[in-house]
Amino acid sequence: MQHLTEEQLVAHYYHDDDAPAAAASHLLECPDCRAQYETIRRVLTLVGDAPVPERGDHYAEEVWTRLRWKLGARRRRMQWTSFAAAAAVLAIAFFAGVWWHSRGSRTAPSNIANNKGPGVVQSVAATSQASDRVLLVVVGDHLESSERMLAELANANPKQTFDVPSDRAADLVASNRMYRQTAATRGDRRIASLLSDLEPILVELSHAGKTLSPDELGAIQKRIESKQLLMKVRVMTAQPAPPPSNSNSL
């Protein structure tokens, strides 16, 4: 008598075998195979008995509430694109002004007379540093405010509800979007990437209502931790601004 293999026994258990009648008949006749089959059945019953945590009656609603804002954010992105374009124009105008001012005050008259010389390269570099400083200083204030909010969230008791400062969060969302767009336009990937990581948390907070349930708080804390957001923000805010350019070199 040829015994059934373990693979055949597993396939028989799940009714995935090609000849179920033959396998069933063999199991009736063969105590060894029956014992093997019984062990597999017991193991799979044990695994199947492992419970899944219950979700509340309003689970689907909760999922939808959280999801709705994310989907809404996607739809609103088009509207924000127009806003971001306007912000980018303003930012470009601002940095052009800084550049113009720096060029006027630092460039030697000979370089102005001959704007094809190396002085142009130096003054562009100086301009870039100046605008870097401006961006870091301006974003620095925003990052410090965001850091305070992240720290409040990260240190909150996950077993209690959390009072959401939704107005503060909404302000931060608006400024975050503007700075992110500006940083992206300027090619500052580091700042843009950090702001991009930060934004979903701020959006969620701004739309979370007055309080977060312990589950919602726990989920946000987990996201902050998994992305190491608080640490990244702290590192960025602790970073000194680039040193002022040496006007003597111009």
Binding site: R42, L44, V52, Y59, A60, V63, K222, S226
Partner: protein
């Protein structure tokens, strides 16, 4: 039933968010169950549910109407879970093991103990830990194939499609998962000699 899903997908594609809401309400519990079986963690499962619907919404245009929406959603959930498991395994390499320092033999003695008044809750929690530990030893594909076949009752053909493998390979993946679970859990299901 599927017509309802398809109609909702069609409306959601044209920007009707209430239609997508119907899909979320109908499928979120099932997706949570799959995500929990895949990740073994409640909070991770909640994250997977969110991510699954978000990805589904973004990819609605790529959904083929002749396909089954539920299977398509399961596939996304499985991928989200696998992404999370991969991220977790990178992140948790230094985390503490599930065991509490006692060896397997000691645990086994405790579990098959013929104590006339066993603490059933404790025993049940202990068994669950063993099951969770055994499940963690499965590879991503094994875990996916097993969860979909054993808990979701998904046909092997669908599992093959979900994993992007042939039917026979899917069958063999399920078998490998069961063999690993058997190796880990067989001592716990042996008939108690004291009762025989």
């Amino acid at each position: 039933m599927e017509v309802t899903d398809l109609a909702a997908v069609s409306r959601a594609r044209s920007g009707d968010s209430d239609a997508f809401r119907l899909l979320v309400e109908k499928h979120s519990r099932v997706i949570f169950r799959v995500a929990y079986r895949m990740t073994g963690n409640e909070h991770d499962a909640d994250d997977v549910v969110q991510e699954t619907f978000l990805r589904a919404y973004k990819q609605l245009d790529s959904f083929e109407e002749r396909a089954n929406f539920s299977t398509w959603l399961h596939r996304i959930a499985v991928n989200c879970s696998l992404d999370l498991l991969r991220a977790r395994s990178r992140h948790d390499k230094n985390s503490l093991p599930l065991t509490d320092g006692r060896d397997d033999e000691e645990r086994e003695v405790e579990i098959v103990s013929s104590d006339p008044q066993p603490d059933r809750l404790l025993l049940s929690a202990e068994l669950q830990k063993h099951v969770a530990a055994a499940m963690e030893k499965l590879s991503g594909n094994e875990r996916t194939a097993f969860v979909l076949r054993h808990f979701e009752g998904m046909p092997v053909e669908e599992i093959g499609k979900t994993l992007g493998i042939q039917v026979n390979a899917a069958k063999h993946t399920i078998f490998r998962a069961v063999r690993k679970l058997r190796e880990a859990l067989e001592p716990l299901v042996r008939p108690n000699p004291c009762n025989t």
